[in-house]
Amino acid sequence: MSTEALRPSSYLGEGAGPAAWLLTTDHKRVAWLYLMSLTAFFFLGGAFAVLMRVELATPAGDLVSDDTYNRLFSLHGIIMVWFFLVPSIPATLGNFLLPLMIGARDLAFPRLNLASWYVFILGSAFALASVLAGGVDTGWTFYTPLSTLYANGFVSMAALGVFIVGFSTIMTGINFIVTIHTLRAPGLTWFRLPIFVWTMYATALVMVLATPVLAASLILIVLERVFGIGIFNPALGGDPLLFQHLFWFYSHPAVYIMILPGMGVVSEVLPCFSRRPLFGYKAVALSSMAIAVFGFLVWGHHMFVSGQSAYAGVLFSFLSFCVAIPSAIKVFNWSLTLRKGEITFETPMLYALFFLALFTFGGLAGLFLAALAIDVHVHDTYFVVAHFHYIMVGGMVTAYMAGLHFWWPKLTGRMYSETWGRIAATVTFLGFNLTFFPQFVLGFIGMPRRYHTYPPEFQFWHVLSSAGAVVLAFGYLMPLFYLGWSMFRGPRAPANPWGATGLEWQTASPPPPHNFDTMPSVSRPAYDYAMKGLQHETFSPHKDEA
């Protein structure tokens, strides 16, 4: 269908100029708008993290003051969670791929999609303004009454920024849910959908139903700070723990907003480079939905030592163990997908395998935290920090990198340097483990989190972690350069460089403005790699350059 000679005009070629980009309703261009903004936030949040790690190389607080340190970790959390992790895969790869994967011309509400980016930018403006004005020192969790009565940073401004960004999340969620329900190509039944689409659906569900609760609690915080009404203030009859309930009702499911899309990416990449159908497709699809639903039942495990009733603690612990099951199912299925495959190790596959390792490791650490008696000891320590980063950075960001490399030819129509890609993936993996593995030990031996200074006997592990952070920073900076370079100088990519199944690979790279020259219809299951009749265009950069 799409031969090199008859390359159709691509979405990238349609109108250059800022207006053509800033007023676009093409989901592929909106994805780029998000990609640019999120990359900026990722490196901003990363810079805060590196500063923190440098400070922690010595026990004394000698690089920055305690106030500055508190602002660094608060802003690192706020920016990474709401301005990078939550939108990351959905707003970039999801936006770009969802219509392509289901054979649609665009999302159901293209203008809403563009509007969501502007709302995102508005929210970022508030967040950045609060950074420039002097920052926030509440931690990303905004716990009351610290955030309402005692914190002296620009809490309201930052909370408002998060509140507004929440709307952009909800808009994206609505758009995805409606699109998946109403715009699937003829023959594309639910159980023929790629897992990436399933995870987008599960993510969107959480976005739509959890984010408003965060919005409500942030409204109440701002009202309390500005108007002095005392909903969380014990002196006025309020309850500080109520805030924690509302906050975690959102924020625990929010970690599934962050990890589910990563699981979706890996479910695409592993079958492709193993040349095998995904093992246990239905189990993986349904476990995504199970995670989305059960994810809402476990928020109380953040409050085991908060003073909530012990029996609520037992219940929440029980439910937390239940939510571990669907994740375990996924890991087993991913591992078995490799069996009897024809495995190759391109960059996306390396990242996907690293994801598998890090996610499994982080998930197993979660068992310690769900077990009540152990959680009492490691709660609010570096153990939690390590667990969270294994899932969020080791899992989610690694999957994001896998997806970015996997679909980069589709996004740009260019190939990146495979050598540099593999080097960066390996450096990231090593740097990551060096940074965060020592934090498990630190947590176990009793190092509380959010500490500006610490007892000297903990220093050994802190030094390892800080050294790792520097390596990790290089691992993340490398793609910025070689991917950036490939955008303009990389060899042209064919429509399907990896020989992958999936509708997105059946249109040109980059795709034409409305995605498909002829609207596709589907008659086969997803990951139909066993079928040898598939039209593969094997890619060899050297042939193409010549």
Partner: protein, 319 residues
């Protein structure tokens, strides 16, 4: 062997060993599972690399028995870990009888402790080895968290309520005391040391702290100074409930309900007297919200508890 690098926290309380037992068991299990999965993936990755001569016939993309098997196995293992962890956790609810009760108050950014004899310390806590110590926690401002890694205990101190944590130190020594819940600028400075000492040394230490009044005695003084005694004494003209033996006793309320007069009830009755009115009394008591701070609240509670000698050592609501 460890070159001064710590790999494990000291085990210095009666529960530390059992918590560590669960921890190391779980560690062994997760390490085994992790290594198994990693080896499996590496094995597949090598065996089925593109171009290898491995046998690839008979491939299947799903197996219902396998899915069911590992789902059920995961569930069973999860339930075992859950049950074990929960059983240890629930011991927090039931401190042994005959405990030494120390009042702990968190404020930005220090821990203040008062021993039953009135001895006061800041960021230091001396406790006897081998005796149950209950620290009743309150907070003056934001949420803090009492954390002694060597004892494997942690409990948030939440403004507006009293929480409890108990432990039995079983190894003399000096152990870190931290605030684990982020509480503002000097969060990382908020903490100090718990010193566990043999009972005789503890008694000697208490003796050297100078003779302050006991916490209950301070509470009694406050009880008079605030004018509480004006109404609550038997000779008073105003009809107010008699508080002798009140702690731990059921109280009939005007709305036909009955509550046990625990710390929560006493605290609320002082700060929000109109909330739960004892049956048969007029709601005439003024609120002491804003008049009594958290430290004074602890004194008053200690005094009121001392009026019920039998119940005072029993801790009915460790949450």
């Amino acid at each position: 062997m460890s070159f001064g690098i710590p790999f494990t926290p000291p085990e210095a309380s009666s529960i530390a060993g059992s918590v560590d037992m669960l921890f190391y068991t779980l560690l062994a299990f997760t390490a085994a599972l992790g290594i198994f999965l990693a080896s499996l993936v590496v094995f597949y990755a090598i065996k089925y690399r593109a171009g290898s001569k491995a046998e690839r016939t008979g491939e299947r993309a799903r197996s219902l028995p396998l899915e069911v098997a590992w789902t059920v196995a995961s569930l069973l293992i999860a339930f075992v870990i859950f049950g074990w962890g929960a059983a240890l956790f629930l011991r927090r609810e039931h401190p042994p009888l005959d405990a030494l009760e120390i009042a702990g108050l968190g404020k930005q950014w220090m821990w203040e402790f008062r021993h039953p004899g009135g001895q006061r310390e800041i960021n230091e806590l001396h406790v006897p080895v081998g005796k149950t110590v209950i620290v009743s926690l309150a907070s003056q401002d934001v949420i803090h968290s009492f954390f002694v890694p060597a004892f494997r205990v942690k409990q948030d101190a939440v403004p507006g309520r009293t929480t409890h944590v108990w432990f039995i130190a079983d190894e003399p020594g000096r152990y870190h005391l931290f605030c684990a819940q982020y509480c503002g600028t000097q969060h990382s400075e908020m903490g100090g040391w718990v010193t566990a000492m043999p009972p005789e040394d503890y008694a000697a230490w208490l003796g050297n702290q100078g003779k302050g009044d006991t916490l209950a005695a301070d509470g009694e003084k406050l009880f008079r100074a605030l004018g509480c005694s004006g109404c609550h004494e038997k000779s008073s003209k105003v009809r107010a409930p008699d508080l002798a033996g009140i702690f731990g006793r059921p109280v009939a309320l005007e709305n036909q309900q009955t509550v046990v007069a625990d710390e929560r009830y006493l605290r609320d009755s002082i700060l929000e007297p109109k909330k739960e009115i004892a049956a048969g009394y007029d709601p005439v008591m003024p609120s002491f919200d804003g008049i009594v701070d958290e430290g004074e609240m602890q004194m008053l509670l200690a005094y009121l508890k001392s009026l019920s000698p039998r119940a005072a050592t029993r801790n009915e609501a460790t949450q």
